[in-house]
């Protein structure tokens, strides 16, 4: 039944293509000369909620439709999936050899290592390539060549609930761990199921929360030379401190099982004092309608001895696969999708930051996004090691144990061993 429908659709589509090819060959002079119709498979992350109006499926579908109008022989099949299921779904696709042509949301290094990724310069025009923010463009490098193309970016800061701060008698955002601990304790004592500090170490994005704390202690996942230092003394210090927070009841219970999405919506509901977040928290707060814009603010993330000057900067990359040899079609689509209007539309929809220099400059003085944009040049990104994707999955699955009774040194040591033995 479905197949017949698909066959009918294909027939209709090809008829339409044939007709449009006859009538208006001038509209798309740049389309490929082969004449055969091409379908590109796009697999991306959903930054909104599937089934609602803000799903990223709609964003990409609109681009694909507009693109198809201009290049009628190229159809882009769009599939998006929420962040929590994204890695599993993507790996299932790849393991069963159903390669997408374009992937948005995964690090490019592993694909480059396998030799199935196009270089960025193969699938993007020079002007677009030059407009990418250098800090993040470097994140797409594998052995000195750029493969990944940053699509959207964010830096992280500390969100705090001014209403709860006032109730607990706190006047300013914390700048050190000690202050954060004192503030979190005061807020969690307010009762009414209030969480002092939200620490999402569940599988959704444990690697980000961990990294923010590691940076606060002067640590990180890798050293300057790119070698893994996951169980470094600084990182263990960070997790020991996180443990004292958890044990004192200043965080939610069992942080290793709580996801970022839960805590962000709890913050928006007014029941969390502080939580680390990207600009994407803003629309959640607005949608919940519980906090007015004067009830909350952001501040730099506190470190052991002062605020973190090199906060976590995350960029989600696009990588194009060469498995189906669709270089020219991919290039046409990406150049189309990286137009300023679409970048701006994405940032507006999800309150994330742009990946292009021109768009970033325009947002520097925005009252909400300004601080996030200004943090980009000094931000710390994730490692670019070829196996980072696997290591990141391992971190998501296991690092929660380090605040759950197992000694941090043991947990971090196991992840370090994994990182080194699965290169």
């Amino acid at each position: 039944m479905k197949r017949r429908l698909a066959a009918a659709a294909t027939l209709g589509l090809s008829a339409a293509l044939a007709l449009s090819a006859c009538s208006s060959s001038s509209t798309s002079g740049s389309s490929s000369s082969g004449g055969g119709s091409v379908t590109l498979h796009f697999f991306g992350a959903d930054y909104g909620t599937a089934g609602t109006s803000n799903t990223t499926q709609t964003y990409w579908q609109n681009i694909a439709t507009a693109f198809h109008k201009q290049y009628p022989n190229i159809t882009v099949d769009v599939q998006t999936i929420d962040w929590n299921d994204f890695p599993t779904k993507l790996h299932t696709l790849l393991q069963s050899k159903n390669y997408p042509d374009i992937i948005e949301g995964d690090a490019p290094q592993s694909y480059a290592q396998e030799g199935i990724a196009y270089k960025a310069s193969d699938v993007l025009s020079e002007s677009t390539l030059a407009n990418l923010i250098p800090t993040f463009a470097k994140q797409g490098d594998y052995q000195g060549t750029e493969y990944g193309i940053p699509f959207t970016t964010s830096t992280r800061a500390l969100y705090y609930n001014k209403k709860l701060f006032a109730q607990a008698g706190i006047s300013a955002a914390p700048t050190t761990w000690a202050e954060l601990q004192a503030d979190a304790a005061k807020i969690s004592k307010l009762g009414n199921s209030t969480i002092g500090y939200g620490m999402p170490l569940g599988t959704e994005e444990a690697q980000a929360e961990s990294y923010m704390w590691m940076l606060g202690a002067g640590g990180g996942y890798v050293n300057g030379g790119g070698a893994y230092t996951i169980n470094s003394a600084a990182n263990v210090t960070a997790f020991n401190f996180m443990n004292t927070l958890v044990k004192a009841g200043d965080t939610e219970a069992n942080p290793g099982t709580v996801n970022r999405a839960t805590l962000w919506s709890d913050f928006a509901a007014g029941s969390v004092g502080m939580v680390g977040g990207s600009p994407a928290v803003v629309p959640i707060i607005q949608a919940a309608g519980k906090l007015t814009s004067s009830d909350w603010a952001t501040a730099p993330f506190p470190g052991e001895n002062g605020t973190v000057t090199n906060p976590l900067g995350v960029d989600d990359q696009i990588v194009a696969l060469n498995v189906h040899n669709q270089q020219s079609a991919i290039q046409q689509f990406l150049n189309f999708a990286y137009q300023d209007t679409y970048q701006a539309q994405f940032d507006k929809e999800y309150d994330l930051l742009p990946a292009t220099t021109s768009a970033a400059t325009a947002e520097e003085n925005d009252p909400i996004f300004g601080p996030f944009v200004k943090a980009i040049p000094t931000s710390s990104a994730y490692p670019t090691n070829a196996n980072w994707s696997d290591v990141s999955t391992k971190i998501k699955q296991t690092i929660g144990a380090a605040v759950d009774g197992t000694a941090p040194a043991t947990v971090l040591g196991q992840i370090q061993t994994f990182a080194l033995s699965n290169q």
């Binding site: 199921s193 569940g202 069992n254 699965n422």
Partner: protein
């Protein structure tokens, strides 16, 4: 007693009899004829054998092959790996606790399920007003998707506003929402017990129906004889109901053992096997491994397959006599 059970099965036997007698009556057949006779059923069996080879043996062989390859998380085969996946697997610090947990998980669920089902089947075998309704209602957890049931339970246990916590808060058991007491699925031990409860909830209907079928097949005259001999209720149950129920019970237990060992959706949906694999059984752990190393995951699959075969063999051997009687 034995005769009453055996008679219905003896009925179809004559159909096969003439064949055997004809064979015995014939003179000593030549080797070729004997071979032909031995192979004669093959055309009739062939479709079934081909099906078994295709859906059972071939996948097992493929699974074994996979477990000896080095395949990364992107599905690229990096070549032959010998036994390295197995040595990595057996050196894995998590494997021991995962296997112990699996045994506990299987044993607890099957034991609790069978106990509850024995009682329920007895109840449903009795006439009482509304029996039909109860029998229908019992199908619900079986008919509903396990994944859906698990999601519903996860929501019910939400530390902030799950209905279970709201209720426990109102009766004064849980003091604070969002507290460690309310975070049932965050604590590995509590999470495991809740998931066992859900697993029992979804296994009870099938087990009860299997036992109920066994109960209804016990002839009434046996009970009549027992009553005449003056056997009490408990004695009747122990000496008549339970022994005659054994074949049905064995089948129910065996199917449950394999189902529960392989059960995946409940744990995956409710805790994802976390934190840190502390609620993973071997099936869930196999899936977690698959995200970095398919070969090692394949090695664990082979181990799991062996365990299932072992359970079945031990179980069948232990109950050989009972199965023959049935």
């Amino acid at each position: 007693m034995q005769e009453t059970v055996d008679t219905p099965q003896a009925a179809p036997a004559p159909a096969a009899e003439p064949n055997r007698r004809a064979g015995a009556a014939a003179f000593r057949p030549s080797l070729a004829r004997r071979a032909r006779r031995a192979l004669a059923p093959l055309p009739w069996l062939a479709p079934a054998l081909a099906l078994i080879a295709f859906v059972v043996l071939w996948p097992v062989w493929e699974m074994f092959q996979t477990s000896r390859q080095h395949i990364n998380s992107y599905g690229f085969n990096l070549g032959d790996y010998g036994w390295k996946n197995y040595s990595t697997l057996f050196a894995d610090p998590n494997l021991g606790s995962v296997m112990v947990r699996t045994v506990l998980w299987v044993f607890a669920i099957v034991a609790i399920t069978v106990l509850i089902s024995l009682g329920l089947a007895q109840l449903l075998n009795r006439g009482f007003p509304g029996r039909k309704l109860v029998r229908w209602a019992l199908i619900a957890p079986w008919a509903a998707s396990v994944m859906m049931t698990a999601i519903v339970f996860r929501w019910m246990l939400d530390p902030n506003n799950g209905v279970v916590n709201v209720f426990l808060h109102q009766i004064g058991v849980v003091h604070d929402y969002n507290g460690s007491q309310a975070s049932w699925l965050g604590d590995p031990t509590a999470a495991l017990w809740w998931m066992i409860a859900v697993a029992v909830f979804v296994s009870v209907p099938f087990t009860t129906y299997a036992l109920l079928a066994g109960l209804t097949s016990i002839p009434a005259d046996v009970y009549e004889a027992a009553r005449m001999d003056g056997a009490g209720k408990w004695r009747t149950y122990r000496a008549i109901t339970f022994p005659l129920l054994r074949p049905a019970l064995l089948v129910a237990v065996l199917i449950n053992l394999m189902n529960v060992f392989n059960s995946f959706p409940i744990i995956w949906t409710m805790t994802g096997g976390g934190p840190d694999y502390q609620t993973s059984t071997s099936t869930v752990y196999m899936y977690a491994l698959k995200q970095f190393n398919i070969g090692e995951s394949g090695a664990l699959s082979v181990v799991n397959f062996g365990v299932v075969i072992l359970i079945v063999l031990v179980f069948l051997r232990a109950n050989r006599s009972a199965l023959k009687e049935g």
